[in-house]
């Protein structure tokens, strides 16, 4: 514990905590809606797309990768959401196609054109996050904080509408709600969160931040509000514990946070079973 407090005197460690907690919080809020709408896989697919975009940005040696990654991911999010509404089977297949396609092209490009001396290391850290969260700069944190405030604000402000669209889109539409706008907003926020979360846990693990807190809290709680609040708390606790452990034991940040989430999920499942 004394060790941890000592580490906290370094600004980059404090940055990691701020970014980690905010990203986990945003992912968990949206995660409840995505899981309930049966869109969990869209998060996974988008993170693969973001990897591909990141590779393209790296090959083109664009200094600020966000400029490429963010728009590409947002466009794909909108496209996937439209597909999944028109037909479930086709939507599912196009998602699989897009996500493995983006991975393959991204890896190929990196191997063929990258100027970096350590390609395997670059790929690994993009996929699993490794230590990049500990190298965040002040501006990265500023972007992260602003984005998180926008996401949380949008979520609170649209809470009742998001609930209605999640529970019963047909009914919401019949009462005159423009459900397409809300689906679009959900897609946009998902894309933003995934790109931000890549910094924390890497491309392959982002969907864990989205689905685990939601699934854990659904084990024990039965009202929408309780599920949302509990999943936010789980996400924050898992991020704090995970980042602390990874600093103390020099484990990879992303994987540690995800493992903590898995442990919480198992505990919650056990409590649910014990309750009967």
């Amino acid at each position: 514990m004394a060790n941890l407090i000592e580490y906290l005197s370094f600004p980059f460690v404090r940055y990691a905590f701020i970014a980690g907690v905010l990203i986990a919080l945003c992912s968990s809020l949206l995660g409840v809606t995505l899981v309930l709408k049966r869109f969990s896989f869209i998060g996974d697919g988008l993170s693969h797309v973001a990897f591909g975009a990141m590779a393209i940005a790296a090959v083109m040696s664009i200094s600020n990768e966000m400029l490429v990654v963010m728009p590409v991911t947002i466009i794909c999010a909108v496209f996937l959401l439209k597909r999944s509404q028109s037909s479930t089977v086709k939507g599912d297949a196009s998602l699989a196609m897009l996500s493995v396609g983006a991975m393959a092209v991204g890896y190929l490009l990196l191997n063929m054109f990258s100027t970096s001396a350590n390609i395997a290391g670059d790929v690994c850290s993009t996929l699993f996050g490794s230590t990049s969260i500990l190298t965040l700069q002040g501006t990265d944190i500023a972007i992260c904080v602003v984005m998180s405030i926008i996401v949380i604000g949008a979520f609170v402000f649209l809470y009742n509408k998001i609930f209605a669209v999640t529970f019963d889109e047909t009914f919401a539409k019949a009462t005159g709600t423009n459900t397409e706008i809300y689906n679009l907003i959900i897609a946009l926020i998902t894309a933003v969160i995934i790109v931000l979360a890549m910094n924390l846990v890497g491309a392959l693990l982002t969907s864990a931040l989205i689905v685990f807190p939601a699934l854990s809290s659904m084990r024990l709680f039965s009202s929408f509000k309780q599920v949302i609040i509990c999943s936010a708390v789980i996400a924050v606790v898992a991020a704090l514990v995970g980042i602390s452990l990874s600093i103390l034991f020099s484990t990879p940040v992303g994987a540690t946070v995800v493992v903590i989430n898995i442990v919480i999920f198992l505990i919650f499942s056990a409590i649910e079973k014990a309750r009967g």
């Binding site: 009742n160 509408k161 009914f171 019949a174 009462t175 709600t177 709680f221």
Partner: protein, 214 residues
Amino acid sequence: MSQLICKNLNVGYEDGVVASGIDFAVESGDYLCIVGENGSGKTTLMKTILGLTPPLSGEIYFEDGLSSKSIGYLPQQTLVQKDFPASVFEIVLSGCLSKLGRRPFYSKEDKALALEKMQKLGIENLTSKSYRNLSGGQQQRVLLARALCAAEKMLLLDEPTAGLDPAATNEMYDYIKKLNDEGMTIIMITHDLEESAKYATKTLNMGKDGVCHG
């Protein structure tokens, strides 16, 4: 007074007509049953009335101050809803969605309205219960209460007794009849010809040939 008039209406989707030549009028206080085989276009007609699907041709008029937004709609239950973690009150309150407009949160009046509709359907004791732990009949009553929050004068019910046991089915029909007696106009899709004959003041029979009799 007429509330809804459909004239020579053709309904369907981009890839084809599902039912054509639909002509009927609904008066205030009517109890209209729409019957017909699977695939005859009953649900499509209902979605067209609600403005979810544009009509292919023909006309729909609302009178008596009604619009498609002020109709209470009870859709068929979806798989997503069966295990949805939400309290009964949260779901009923979401029927007030159209009253929200640009406001982010429900007002006291909205909440009072939701409670009043729950009392009407005898589910006020379930307020904080979870929807996924309710019986099929209770779930349908929750969705009916939600529809009532949106309904001013007219309810559209899509097979409200599908999947219910006989006791719950009868209870559901009793509640609908009670609402109709209080002046609510009812339009209901049903497979249950016997029941529809018992309660309906009008019947619309959607034939396989796409022509409506009645």
